[in-house]
Every structure is written in structure tokens, then in C-alpha cells.
């Protein structure tokens, strides 16, 4: 059953590095993370890779496999041709620490900038009543495992370090959408802030984020587009614009 496959793995740190070729055994049913672990145990004891659950639930083993952002634990070796060399590189949008491990602190900084869940001040424990159909919209976004593949693939920041300051990225657009659609969240103007403070307008809906999402969250269709539509609706409809000025109804945004 076992056969040898060829890998080309990026080795190096923040300053220097190169692709190294290795040949390693692969067994039936194995995923790319399995063969990386075998390389680690037998050939490169200090090969750096992040992983945790190995079941597609924690979002730790994000990397680029043949240039595509993927979870190594959910990528079957059998998907590649027998004589194909599988090239494994770290996430391109983030600075490399070592080998396949990158510094993803950008995402934690952005998480800190999204205003938190704000329930009604007088809501008592156990008293919330919500219908299943109303929680499901936000539940889709709460499936996010924070693998940051959507952030990695997003061309607004992938090769544009300068945009990182003003752009939160798809992961945080679904976080804002989740709170905006949360039946108990009372904070107003989330969509407006997404546009004005988190860079929603820089997204030009190429749907790359949706394509790489291992949880199949419809990031663009269900979070980004609805928020953009509402923002545009209010901003450019002259009657509603006037209404918002006269009656101070900015809260509906």
C-alpha cells in the first residue's frame, strides 16, 4: 500500500529560506499533514508546522499546498497525481516565523477592533427567547474555525501590506455580520462602521474567500454583499439620506 511521494517544502525563517525536496512514504487514506509529520519524525526533526485537532475543527494547520490556501489535515494525498511533486509553503499574507509557521497576530489585532456583543442591559440569564430561524443566520458565521485562509487568499492584503492597516478582512466581516444579525445584539451602526472603519468598501467581491473556506461559509453572499447593499442603500438613496439627516435615524444603518 505504501508508496513514496515527492514533497517540496519551504524551509527557513523571517530572513532567509528555500524550498527543499524530500521523498517520503505515504499510506492509503493519508492527508498532507500525515506525511509532513512523517518527514518531521524521520528526516527533519525541527520542521515547524502548526496543527492541533487533525480533524478540520480547529483551523491550525493552514498552509499553501501547490499555491492554494488549505488545511493540511483535510487535504488527501490521493488527490494528487502519483508522480506529482506537492509543494508546501507557508501562508503568503503573513510574515514567516519558521518553515510553515507564520505570524498571524494581525488577525488577533483586528479581532480586538470589532466592537463586542452588546445584549440588552436588562436581559436576565435564562430569559432570552429566540427562534431557530433567527439564530441560524448568525450561526452560519459562528461556524468559523479561524483558520485565516480567507484572510490569506484575499487579494486586498495578500500582496498589499499597506492595506492591512485599514482592512479587517473577510474573517472579521463575517464577525461583524454575525453580530449585526444576532437577535440579541443592540449595538447600532455596525454596517456603517464596517464600511468606514473596517474597510468593507475595499472588497470587490471576487469570492476568493468563500472558495477557500473549509467550513463552506458563504462569506461573500451571506455576509459581505448584504452589508454592502444596506450601506449603499442608505448612503445613496436621496430620500433615505435626507430622512437620516432630518430624523436622526442613522441607527438603522
Amino acid at each position: 500500500m505504501a508508496k513514496n511521494i515527492k514533497l517540496r517544502i519551504w524551509r527557513g525563517d523571517a530572513n532567509t529560506g528555500k524550498l527543499e525536496d524530500v521523498s517520503v512514504e505515504a499510506n492509503e487514506g493519508e492527508v498532507v499533514l500525515d506525511v509532513i509529520h512523517r518527514v518531521q519524525a524521520t528526516q527533519m526533526g525541527d520542521l515547524a508546522v502548526r496543527w492541533n485537532c487533525k480533524a478540520g475543527k480547529c483551523g491550525s494547520c493552514s498552509m499553501e499546498i501547490n499555491g492554494k490556501p488549505r488545511l493540511a489535515c483535510m487535504t488527501q494525498v490521493a488527490n494528487f497525481k502519483e508522480d506529482e511533486t506537492i509543494t508546501i509553503t507557508p501562508l503568503r499574507a503573513f510574515p514567516v516565523i519558521k518553515d510553515l509557521v507564520t505570524d498571524v497576530s494581525f488577525n488577533y489585532k483586528k479581532a480586538m477592533e470589532v466592537e463586542s456583543f452588546t445584549p440588552p442591559a436588562d436581559l436576565k440569564p435564562g430569559q432570552a427567547r429566540m427562534q431557530q430561524i433567527d439564530v441560524e443566520r448568525s450561526q452560519e458565521f459562528r461556524k468559523c474555525i479561524e483558520c485565516f485562509l480567507c484572510q490569506d487568499t484575499c487579494h486586498v492584503i495578500r500582496d498589499h501590506e499597506e492595506n492591512k492597516k485599514s482592512f479587517a478582512g473577510p474573517r472579521f466581516f463575517i464577525r461583524i455580520a454575525e453580530l449585526d444579525m444576532h437577535p440579541l445584539d443592540m449595538l447600532k451602526n455596525r454596517k456603517k462602521k464596517a464600511q468606514e472603519e473596517h474597510g468593507l468598501g475595499m472588497c470587490n467581491i471576487t469570492k476568493c474567500c468563500t472558495e477557500v473556506c473549509p467550513e463552506h461559509i458563504r462569506i461573500t453572499d451571506n455576509a459581505i454583499i448584504p452589508m454592502k447593499e444596506r450601506v449603499v442603500d442608505i448612503k445613496y438613496d436621496p430620500v433615505r439620506w435626507l430622512g437620516s439627516k432630518i430624523r436622526k435615524r442613522e441607527g438603522i444603518l
Partner: protein
């Protein structure tokens, strides 16, 4: 790397080791009490093993069946643990878990709903009523994300009030702690290193909360991630604490068995809760043969009644697929050994015949995804192959139930899977997530009141020097063994000799083999340098796993009975004498020593919650005559 190693120094009131559910809940509580808290995790923030919990969190809110309440939950928990639980922990847990779940909702959690709009609750093994609050089959992710976001919310509030988001809570991701430091018998801090670059870190703190989770990686087939290496268990032992009943390990009955690379990955008990049935290679629904006497009045002995239960739970007994996990795991093990297993050494679990494709994808979405992507099996159309996998350790740090303070080490606390006593000899599904909320909160509060009442102790230079030498050691050695191969060897020993069915001779063999690895580990050598070096990291995890394996083997050999997560082929039944005894492991600097200690007995008001005929199955006539304390 140069000889001169840098060291960072931090000062906090409380250090929480572990950022899973228990650790985060403890941190929230300690911060709420006004303390400065460091949260330390081996992985990135939000990746802890809690994300893997699927089925739900057990809390007797009574949203689906109003007959439920804390007393019923308490009884189920004691029954599930075969009455070896610390009664006080089981009592606090049953009483407080509804509040802990409701509080999550105020922090933003979105549980699935009932028709009336309340939190929905599902059936699970060993729970008399539908009790598990859930979010599809990704409840653990919801818990961890909710608490992660609660921490962020508290940091945002601190930024507004104090100008610095990290003034009261700071998260240190990807840090390994190698030692709990003590001066004059009291905790003074912890020492470790940053995984990213090997820079050493000293945290001075009066109180340390262990929330490091389980020990699964000690075993070959496990549902645990790489982090489950018993770090907290080992840190407590080395700091002078005790471990209670380390022989009790839960082998979850349903792990994946094929393909080999996913062997052990969990298949949630919700599959059975939602109607999944277990069959052998003859198509026989075998669980009817394995209902033990103590459960005969609660479980259906025929298919017709078991099937009716899904529609009418008041007038039918439960299907035996929903027996506590230890019973189901042993049954599967027996079927496979008798040659009635599936092609790859498991049995079949099928939910496709009872539920439609749409319902399966809605209620068990991640199971569908997991089998489809990793095994090429469509569970809406065909059966899954499943078998036992090492899932949870019931044993753990001996603590005071009310404050979670570790016995014998002032300033040390433990909560969640790393703590022992709560689950007795076997944990019910769903009781883990509620455990970590209830006792996470109690540990945070316990540490806060300890800090307010005691004086800080200064970490001595000698302690720092010793801890630093230990971290530097693997690079100074040459010609020793590689940590990966030693780890594999340890896993073979535990799997083959300390596994699901145990005997005296095999346990003796295991103890001497573990002692041999203990000698060889002194020589482990790692390649490369300190920059994010997994081999270097494993060399410390390995030391922890070895202490855990030694405690487990030495406790298992003295407990001459079978109960819950400890099955002795040579002592196949429960012995009432052993129901009153805990095995206490301690470490004398060279090896683990196990001694027996009396289990605290229930006060009368808890004793009286049970039917005497049920207690008679577990307790001696002397105990029955006393009728509680």
C-alpha cells in the same frame, strides 16, 4: 544559538495555564474579581481541545422535559461514575451548570432553540432526560469562541477605562510551561519558554490555575490533539500535589477506524442520541446483549421498545446504544475480539436508516463533513465504521471541590479535565463542558480569594537557575535517542498493556517498561535550535506523558476490580470495598507512589435522593445501614 539565553519576566496576580474552556472561564472570573491575569496556551488563542467537543453541554434547565432538575442530573452523574465520584463536586456541578449555560448566552453564544425559543436540549448516554444544550455538533467551538470573545470584550473595556487593553488580562499564546515554582512551600510563579523562539519566560504570581486538559497523547489511538500530554497532571505532581484515581480513562466507544490516518478521531455520541444504531458484521444489533444488571430497569431489552423510545420517552426504556460510554466501549471491544467486527476492526454505526439526508446534514453537519472528506463515506446513505478511542481521563489533580484548590500545594488550583474526582470512574457525555464551566469559574474565584488573603512570595534566583537548566538540557546532550521514537514506544506500551482491558501481568510489564523509558529519556537529544522546534517541544511533553503513564499503570495494578474506565480481566466485577477507596498518586522525585485514601461519603440529604435498591448494588451493607453521613 549563543550560550546567553534571554529571559522575559512578567508579574501577574494569577496565571492560568491552558486556554480551553476551563482556563478561559477561570480567567473571566479572576478578572471580574479585580485581579491581573495571564492566560498561557501552548497553541494559538482559540485552538484548544475544547473546540473538539461536539455533542453538547449538560445542564438540567428542563427546557425540553420539565421533570429534569439538579437532583436528577446529580443522580445520573453518580450512577455514570459508578458512585466513585466526589459527591460534593457532582452536587455543585449539577446545581450550577444551568446558570453557567445561561450566562454564556449573555456573552453572545447562540445555542439551537426549542419551538418556544428556549435553548434546545438533546438526549445523551446516561442522562435520564434531554439535557444537552447544543449547537449542531460543534458545541465546543461555540463555547470556546464565546469565552474568547468575552475575554476580548473585557480587554476592550479595560482599554477604555485604563488605556491599555492588556492591563488586566494578557494572553500569551504558544508558550510551554515546564515548572510551577514554589518558595517556602507556597506557589511563587511558573517558568517556561516561548515556542516561537525558545526565549525563556518567568511569570511571578501568587496563584496558578492548571487548566491543561487531558492525557490522550499518552495512548496510540486517541481523539485528543497533540496538546493532550498531561502537562498539568505532571506539573502538579512535581509541585507536590496529588493525582486521584489515574487508572480511570474513558475510551470513547465511537472513534473512526478507517483510514488509518484518522483512526481515533471522534464520532460524536449525538449520532446515537439522534437514533444511530450499532451492528456487528452479522447485522445483529448487539448492544441488547450487554446491558449490565445495574441498568436493566432503565434500558430496553428489545428492538421494538428501543425504537418506540425515540417517539415516547415516558413509557419506554432507552435504547442500549445510549448506555454509559464504558459499557458501550467494552461491548464493541468484545464483539471485535469475537470476530464479529467490521473489515477494519470496528463495528457499524448507522444513522441513515432512521433519519433523512436533510436532517442528518442539519443535526450532524461536522460528522457528515468529516466522514465525507476523510473517509469517503456518505453517512446519509451508509454506515460508519467505529471503534473505541482514548478520549478522556477521569483521574486528575486532587482538589477541594468548592475552591478547586489543589490539595497540599497552597496557591495551586486545577479545573476541567486536569482535575480529578468529579466524574468518578466514568464521565457522562456532556458533563465535560459543564464541568469546565462550573469548576473553571470556581477556580477563578478560589484563586482570587486566595490572592486577597495571602502575601506574595518572591521567586528565588536558585529556582530560576534550576528551571533554566532543565530547558537548556536537551540541546546539551549528544548521541541520545530521538523524542519522536520514544513517544511512539510509550504509546505502544500504554496501548498494548494499559489499554481498555487490563491484567496484572501486563500491567507489571508496563511498569517496568515505563521505568526503562524513564532512564532513556534522560538522554533524549534534539536537533536544530530553539526557533519553533517541534522535537525540542516534544522532549518536555514526553516527560509529562511518562509521569501520567506511570501513575495510570501503578494505580491500575492495585485496583483489583472492574469499574467504569478501568477493566481488569483478572477481576471482572465491581468490588464494594474498592468503591470506598481512591488511589492517590504522588511523586517522590524519582518515581510515582500510589496509596489508598477513603472516599468522602455522601451526607444524608444526598444519600436519600437515591432508591435504596439502587444503592445496594454498589454499597456494602455497613454503608447502607449508616444511610449517609
Amino acid at each position: 544559538m549563543s550560550e546567553k539565553i534571554q529571559m522575559e519576566r512578567h508579574n501577574f496576580d494569577v496565571v492560568v495555564i491552558g486556554a480551553g474552556g476551563a482556563g478561559l472561564r477561570a480567567a473571566v472570573e479572576a478578572r471580574s474579581a479585580g485581579l491581573r491575569v495571564a492566560i498561557i496556551c501552548k497553541s494559538l488563542f482559540g485552538k484548544a481541545h475544547t473546540v473538539m467537543a461536539e455533542g453538547g453541554v449538560a445542564a438540567s434547565m428542563g427546557n425540553v422535559n420539565e421533570n429534569d432538575g439538579w437532583k436528577v442530573h446529580f443522580r445520573d452523574t453518580m450512577r455514570g461514575g459508578k458512585f466513585l465520584n466526589h459527591y460534593r463536586m457532582a452536587e455543585l456541578h449539577a446545581k450550577e451548570s444551568p446558570d453557567r449555560v445561561w450566562e454564556l448566552e449573555l456573552w453572545g453564544a447562540l445555542f439551537d432553540r426549542t419551538k418556544e425559543g428556549k435553548i434546545s436540549q438533546r438526549n445523551f448516554g446516561g442522562h435520564e432526560y434531554p439535557r444537552l444544550a447544543h449547537v449542531g455538533d460543534r458545541t465546543g467551538l461555540e463555547l470556546i469562541r464565546t469565552m474568547q470573545q468575552k475575554i476580548v470584550a473585557m480587554q476592550q473595556a479595560d482599554k477604555k477605562e485604563h488605556g491599555d487593553a492588556e492591563s488586566y488580562i494578557k494572553v500569551f499564546a504558544e508558550v510551554t510551561i515546564t515548572e510551577v515554582l514554589k518558595e517556602n512551600g507556597k506557589v511563587s510563579g511558573v517558568y517556561g519558554y516561548k515556542r516561537e523562539n525558545g526565549v525563556e519566560v518567568l511569570f511571578e504570581a501568587q496563584a496558578v490555575i492548571l487548566a491543561t486538559g487531558g492525557v490522550g497523547k499518552t495512548f496510540k489511538i486517541t481523539s485528543n490533539s497533540w496538546e493532550g500530554t498531561g502537562d498539568g497532571h505532571a506539573l502538579a505532581l512535581k509541585a507536590g500535589g496529588n493525582l486521584v484515581d489515574m487508572e480511570f480513562l474513558q475510551f470513547h466507544p465511537t472513534g473512526m477506524v478507517w483510514p488509518p490516518s484518522v483512526r481515533g478521531i471522534l464520532v460524536t455520541e449525538s449520532v446515537r442520541g439522534e437514533g444511530g444504531v450499532l451492528t456487528n458484521n452479522k447485522g445483529e444489533r448487539f448492544m441488547f446483549k450487554y446491558i449490565p444488571d445495574v441498568f436493566k430497569d432503565k434500558y430496553a431489552d428489545n428492538e421494538a421498545e428501543a425504537d418506540r423510545w425515540y417517539l415516547d420517552q415516558d413509557n419506554n426504556r432507552r435504547p442500549p446504544e445510549l448506555l454509559p460510554r464504558d459499557e458501550v466501549a467494552r461491548a464493541i471491544n468484545t464483539e471485535v475480539k469475537a470476530g464479529r467486527g467490521s473489515e477494519h476492526g470496528g463495528v457499524f454505526l448507522d444513522v441513515s436508516k432512521r433519519l433523512t439526508e436533510e436532517v442528518i446534514k442539519k443535526r450532524l453537519p461536522s460528522m457528515w463533513h468529516q466522514f465525507y472528506e476523510l473517509a469517503g463515506v456518505d453517512i446519509t446513505k451508509e454506515a460508519m465504521e467505529v471503534g473505541p478511542t482514548c478520549h478522556y481521563v477521569m483521574g486528575g489533580v486532587e482538589v477541594d471541590p468548592d475552591t478547586a484548590a489543589a490539595v497540599g500545594v497552597p496557591g495551586l488550583f486545577a479545573a476541567g479535565e486536569v482535575a480529578g474526582g468529579m466524574h468518578g470512574s466514568n464521565r457522562l457525555g456532556g458533563n465535560s463542558l459543564s464541568d469546565l464551566l462550573v469548576f473553571g469559574r470556581r477556580a477563578g474565584a478560589g484563586a482570587a480569594s486566595y490572592v486577597k488573603q495571602s502575601q506574595p512570595v518572591k521567586v528565588s534566583e536558585g529556582s530560576i537557575k534550576n528551571a533554566a537548566e532543565r530547558i537548556a538540557a536537551p540541546f546539551k546532550r549528544t548521541g541520545g535517542e530521538n523524542p519522536y521514537s520514544l513517544h511512539q514506544e510509550l504509546q505502544e506500551i500504554t496501548h498494548n498493556l494499559v489499554g481498555i482491558i487490563r491484567t496484572k501481568s501486563e500491567l507489571n510489564d508496563a511498569i517496568s517498561k515505563i521505568a526503562d523509558i524513564r532512564m532513556r529519556i534522560e538522554n533524549v537529544t534534539v536537533s536544530g535550535d530553539r526557533l519553533f522546534n517541534p522535537g525540542f517541544h516534544l522532549s518536555f511533553d514526553l516527560d509529562n506523558m511518562l509521569l501520567v503513564a506511570e501513575s495510570t499503570a501503578k494505580s491500575a495494578i492495585v485496583r483489583e476490580e472492574s469499574r467504569g474506565g478501568h477493566t481488569r480481566d483478572d477481576f471482572p466485577t465491581m468490588d464494594p470495598k474498592w468503591r470506598t477507596l481512591n488511589n492517590i498518586s504522588s511523586f517522590n522525585g524519582k518515581e510515582v507512589v500510589v496509596k489508598q485514601q477513603g472516599l468522602p461519603s455522601m451526607p444524608k440529604e444526598l444519600f436519600d435522593l437515591f432508591d435504596v435498591h439502587e444503592l445496594e448494588k454498589y454499597m456494602s451493607s455497613d454503608e447502607m445501614a449508616k444511610g449517609g453521613r
